[in-house]
Amino acid sequence: MYDLAVVGGGIHGASVALFAARGGMNVVLLEAGALARQASGTNAGTLTMQMTRAALIPYALKAHEMWVNAPHWLGHDVGVVACDGLSLAFTEAEEQLLSERAKARSAAGAPINLVTKAEATRIEPGVNPSIRMASHCAIDGYANAYLTGLAYRRALRDAGVTIREYTPVTGLAASGKGYEIRLAQKAIAASQVVLTGGVWLEPMLKWLDIQLPIKTLVNQLSVTERTGPVMRTVLGIASGLLSLKQFPHGTVVIGGGWQGEGRRETNYHRTTHDSTVGNARLAVHAIPALRNTRLVRSWTGFEAETADALPIVGPVPGHPGVWVSGSVHSGYTSAPYIAHCLTQAILGHHPEMPLFPMDRLLANSTPEAAHFPPKSQ
């Protein structure tokens, strides 16, 4: 009998498992595939405030600090680089959008300020001279997402978590003082359970007869071959539909949430012609030197989104000891800190910052709950 079973080995599940084990719990982490190989291993790794929802900025700021210090608390390298972030405006409409968004995010605590074309060009000499203005955030950066699985695997092993990869969970039911987690072959028992299944949270919650629609986004990304230096910042545009960065080894990752095609039910997802060309054009428009590079790979990953595009992090109503964490927009950035807060609750402490209970999204939710999230302090 485990103290805690975590179902879903992405960054949310792996972080909760890690912190709970360090908090003294006997933890098993169950993952249908390999650790951090879905959204957590395939996202762009951007650790930015400029694409984070305003309500999540306080969490993302704390998480950014954690990412930068990852060697201390995680103990292993995820290739984090802290650098300047710029969000660009090329048109008058984008200037307007940029100003509004910078204002809202800055009100939420992100150190974002608008800068002139000259200042933006000083910060990012590679930028297209046709920009009109930019918003700048000194707290930005990126991790190397594909290293997430390796880094967490080592940390989890060090912390004594039982890692079970390629172990799909087929059901969950109350049993004795805890829960029975059904696997293909047999079942395991745990006092508490955390569901961290990303887009698969919807079918997971159905195990408990809870209907909660989770929208599946199919985000696509591309990467160039290793190339000489072309940029030094994390770049976006006002609408949020571009994320661009050059890793220390020279590859440039192009993202921003352009949609591929796919279905959660069959775990089929792939890029489209138009999104690949459109996203690449936007990238080259931002950093013209990219025109002389080659694109070597593109891929897709699922991102989960609730009806109000805000996270579900907290207890599952009616099922004491079952917790959920997911649908965190810019979830990779905020994950370590959100997991830290959730683990505090699981360990019986008061979380440092409020969680995001799912009650607001359930059919019988009360009007007060619908006003979630609480204002951050």
Binding site: G33, A34, R37, G41, M51, R53, A54, F90, T91, L97, E100, R101, A104, R105, S130, Y146, L147, G149, L150, R153, R157, E165, Y166, T224, E225, R226, I237, A238, S239, G240, L241, H249, G257, W258, Q259, R270, T271, T272, H273, D274, T276, V277, G278, A280, R281, L282, V284, H285, L290, R291, N292, T293, R294, L295, V296, R297, S298, W299, A309, H329
Partner: protein
């Protein structure tokens, strides 16, 4: 830009060229796409320089290629040369780039005839400039009637070894050595299969006697274990597979190859079912006797679906083209049966020859047990044999994890050169079933030049989706 056809054929080698011709002859509106500047593929490659074009040497591959190119030129087929396919989606929608920019070609039926690439087993120093694939030699000799190097060594396994050595002699070169993994008895076994196609057996025997007459040292049951040199090759070290005895040979150029493997990225991207098949180069795409894959309206022919060689490939192509025409309604069942009868008969005979060649090229199971820790396995990312073992020690259980842990396969060749080798190492360390025995195929199937992909555009024309929620 989008264009629509009844049938798209990817690859204008023997299989693709014949598929396009047979489908067009049945009345389909066909487009044929190839990366090269002319049809023929690797084996029936077109001459490119004046010297190669005027060469009068007897060359059946050249004659077959010229014949294919002439028939294609006289056909109604829309041919896209110098056009690189970088993605294919069900439907079928095929993404291409060329100097003219990116375009999508659409058709309800698709024939994949993508051919094979060469496998080279890694050895210490195999990244040294001056070390080439064996097929590289044939490519240059066919296109330019030339071969590079003064002191050349020819090594590896399979029938290509003899062909390259004999043709190098015809060009006036005198290879310093031929180093063959196969033993004399391997060749004798193969000869039984070659007997099915007497003309090929005679050609092979002629090459062998030419080499013997020229006194070229021929080392059987041996392989190259090291290439020495920094910026250029200086010598190679060969080792006898049985005795382990080594010998160093001075060389400025080494041509080395260990057989062929299907270029099946598009097959896999489209989800066609495959099966492991060492004889066919690693994996073979499953097809019925009409060249239909497991994906509806997706036909596969030639070495891209499993290595048989050029002649069987051409006939598979004919059958695939007729099969697509039949399924598209351009042929009745009776017409189809009448037209595939002769090709099917020929195919049975030719496949025996193909089998014999393939047996000589089969990938050994113990590919890297003797390879040093420092040997580079993934050439693009300089991932060494030791790096791979360290990742397995760290818990990598399958090939895609190995990729994430080491960057193996993340470089521009996308795992073409190292994938099978890495899988063999993984399998040697962890026998038993695995989730991913191959790297997940991704578009673009080969690197694309950004400039070709995006073309000229105005910012206002980029269809930027609506802003993400604040």
């Amino acid at each position: 830009m989008t264009e629509s056809f009844d049938l798209l054929v990817i690859g204008a080698g023997p299989a693709g060229g014949e598929a396009a011709l047979s489908a067009a002859s049945a009345g389909l509106n066909v487009a044929l796409i190839d990366e090269g500047p002319a049809a023929g593929g690797q084996v029936w490659r077109a001459p490119r320089t004046a010297k190669a074009k005027r060469s009068r040497a007897q060359d059946p591959d050249r004659e077959r290629g010229d014949d294919l190119r002439a028939r294609l030129a006289a056909s109604s087929i829309k041919i896209f040369y110098a056009t690189q396919v970088w993605d294919a989606r069900p439907g079928f929608r095929v993404s291409c780039v060329s100097d003219a920019g990116a375009k999508e070609l659409n058709a309800p039926c698709l024939v994949l005839a993508t051919g094979a690439i060469e496998r080279v087993l890694p050895f210490e120093g195999w990244t040294t400039p001056g070390v080439f694939g064996l097929a590289a030699a044939t490519a240059v000799m066919k296109a330019e009637k030339a071969l590079f190097g003064q002191d050349i060594v020819i090594a590896g396994q399979g029938p290509l070894l003899i062909a390259v050595a004999a043709k190098a002699c015809e060009l006036g070169l005198r290879p310093r050595a031929i180093i063959d993994r196969a033993s004399r008895s391997d060749w004798l076994r193969a000869a039984v299969g070659f007997a099915g196609v007497p003309s090929m057996l005679i050609t092979g025997a002629r090459w062998m006697s030419q080499l013997a007459l020229a006194g070229i040292p021929y080392h059987r049951g041996s392989e190259v274990i090291r290439a020495n040199g920094d910026n250029a090759l200086q010598s190679i070290v060969m080792s006898n597979l049985d005795s382990g005895a080594t010998e160093e040979i001075e060389a400025d150029t080494l041509y080395v190859g260990n057989g062929l493997t299907p270029a099946d990225e598009l097959h896999r991207l489209l989800g066609a079912a495959q099966t492991a098949d060492g004889l066919r180069g690693g994996y073979r795409t499953i097809r019925d006797d009409r060249c239909r894959s497991s994906v509806p309206n997706l036909y596969v022919a030639g070495d891209g679906a499993g290595v048989y060689g050029a002649l069987p490939s051409a006939i598979q192509g004919q059958i695939a083209g007729l099969s697509a025409a039949r399924d598209h309604g351009a042929l009745t069942e009776a017409q189809f049966s009448a037209r595939v009868k002769e090709p099917r008969r020929k195919l049975r005979r030719l496949e025996k020859f193909g089998d014999a060649s393939c047996r000589l090229m089969q990938f050994p199971q113990d590919v890297t047990t003797h390879v040093s820790a420092e040997t580079i396995i993934c050439r693009c990312e300089d991932v060494t044999h030791a790096d791979i073992h360290a990742a397995i020690d760290d818990g990598a259980q399958d090939l895609n994890q190995l990729k994430h842990f080491t960057r193996l396969g993340m470089g521009p060749c996308q795992g073409r050169m190292c994938g099978l080798t890495a899988a063999a190492i993984l399998n040697h360390r962890n026998p038993g079933p695995k989730t991913d025995t191959r790297l997940t195929p991704r578009a673009p199937v080969r690197p694309i030049e950004m400039n070709q992909l995006i073309g000229d555009f105005d910012y206002d024309d980029i269809p930027v989706p609506k802003p993400a929620p604040l």
